[in-house]
Amino acid sequence: MPDLPSNRRAGIANILWSLLAIAITLVFIFPLYWAVSTALRNPVDTFTVAGIGLPWLDFQPTLDNIKTELSTPEGLRALRTSLLVTVSAVALALGLGLPAAYALARFRFWSNADITIWFLSQRVLPPVATLIPFYLTFRAVGMLDTPWALILVNATFILPFVVVILRQTFLDLPRELEEAALVDGASYLGAFFRVALPLAMPAVASTGLIIFAFAWNEFLFASSLGITETKTMPAHMAGAVDTRGVQFWFMATRALIAMVPPVLLALFAQRYIVRGLTLGAVKG
């Protein structure tokens, strides 16, 4: 068996590569683990816990921080606001963006390419450039500190994703199916709703999850436009630090509560993440 040594060497190399991959993954996961570990500690244990703070081994974990956080009226209100704002913004962006994506994939305009890039370019704009106009306008019409203000701006931010990603999705669908429906007497609306949309549904759902995460995570406008009544989770976090000072257990607990929804939901869109985050440019 002359090639056994080289086989074995390949095997050992593979084990080493695997260990390296696991080690790197652990490094990237560590901050999230640390959030969980700190959130589960008794406040008095925050700095006394040794090593990497494994629950049960290094300290007795408790759910008190999380329970306290979820039972304050402000915390609950922030969660509710986040959910209301995010879901509404996603619905609005899909409602506006899906037909536009379809139109840019099927109909002919003066230049479909340039219109698509025009939508895409909205994503590149620095949000601070529109912050002050939004702030002043909402203040003038009395919409500051209402969920409406946040729904409108978030829908605006995620709309380009919907248009650009789903246009690519519709382009990838065979247009013959819709054309057959059109020949059979369906209207364009019928072809869109009955033929194209059902076929695009997995991509639409995944895009929905990804833009949900983006809208949920939005902070600049959330902290500027939502002053007292309509703080979303990210804005709520920031406010707490200002008034309460540095209380690490609450910071970690709030960070955890804020992060869990977008992170978990995005996992459901795993298959589409590469496509979604590159706005359809790379197929994952």
Binding site: I24, T25, I117, I132, P133, Y135, A238
Partner: protein, 314 residues
């Protein structure tokens, strides 16, 4: 087929939405950037009847209503046209110079490390590793972590007395240079996984028989790289670079949560400076001018790369 007025019904709502909620605000802030906007609060004291819980006036024994003093506050905003003064101010403002430097260092360092590390990780994970799907799934998690929450989370991690990185003895957040490094590390943590995922997808998109055919043709690894792997990878590297660049120049959340721009102004990015100028100090005109400078810089990059972007997305 595929013509007719109805196509406008599909497209126009989204177009009008963008015009109304993006283009209009941009015109507004361009207008603001040519003005010196000052707020003045005018207070006026007036006597109004005191009301009880039902909204009826509370009466004195003699039948006349009890009065109370109410202070009416009104903010009067004054717009004074100053031409290009705000933009001139930018060039002489040391805060802006520092913010430009901070933003540039951040963008270059973060994007370079993320792409390099992402590429190396993609090659590592492109092997047949046991448990690869689980590891890949775990690597996705940081991408969607709320950035501002990540900032606070890393505040607890970079804590110099008793934090998990305390043993390094590095003044993570109290030293100006290290504070910027810390901001960069958070961005690297969050966005390396994105670069990694996209590069991995590109590598795995190379068909196996394609590679095998190439191996039959040549023994030279270099030739396989040049002829097979790089042509697949380079366009994707360009896309990732563009996307990361566009996001990185806007850096705000982590600055706002991890360092609040400090110590001093050592981590104050352009976005953060514009935000503070506008909504903390209410110097609306100047803040708009700063935001516009950033916008123009981004637009220049987009224009230079327009053909490239167009070939990818259209």
């Amino acid at each position: 087929m595929w013509t007719g007025r109805i196509r406008l019904l599909f497209l126009m709502p989204a177009v009008f939405w963008v015009l109304l909620f993006t283009i209009f605000p941009l015109i507004y802030s361009l207008y603001a950037s040519f003005h010196n906007v000052t707020n003045e609060t005018v207070m006026e004291r007036v006597q109004v009847p005191r009301l009880d819980a039902e909204g009826n006036p509370v009466l004195r024994p003699d039948g006349t209503p009890r009065m109370r003093t109410q202070v009416n506050r009104e903010t009067v905003t004054d717009w004074e046209f100053v031409g290009l003064d705000n933009f001139r101010r930018i060039f002489n403002d040391p805060q802006v110079a520092e913010a430009v430097q901070v933003t540039a260092i951040f963008v270059v360092a973060a994007v370079a490390v993320e792409m390099l590390l992402g590429l190396l990780l993609a090659f590592l994970f492109n092997r047949e590793l046991p448990g690869r799907p689980v590891l890949r799934m775990l690597m996705i998690l940081p991408i969607f972590a709320t950035p501002v929450a990540a900032g606070y989370l890393f505040f607890t991690i970079f804590y110099e007395e008793g934090g998990p990185l305390g043993w390094t003895g590095i003044p993570w957040l109290s030293h100006p240079d290290w504070a910027l490094v810390s901001i960069i590390i958070v961005d690297i943590w969050q966005w390396t996984p994105f670069c990694f995922l996209v590069f991995l997808a590109a590598l795995q998109g190379i068909p196996d028989d394609f590679l095998e055919a190439a191996r039959l043709d040549t023994d030279s690894t270099l030739a396989i790289w040049r002829e097979v792997i790089l042509p697949q990878l380079v366009p994707v590297i360009v896309i990732v670079f563009l996307l990361r660049l566009a996001e990185a120049v806007k850096v705000f959340d982590v600055v706002a949560s991890l360092t609040v721009g400090g110590p001093g102004n050592a981590t104050q990015s352009l976005s953060y400076l514009s935000f503070r100028t506008g909504l903390r100090f209410f110097d609306v005109g100047y803040a708009s001018a700063i935001a516009y400078t950033l916008l123009i810089a981004v637009m220049l990059v987009v224009t230079v790369l327009y053909k490239r972007i167009r070939s990818v997305y259209a």
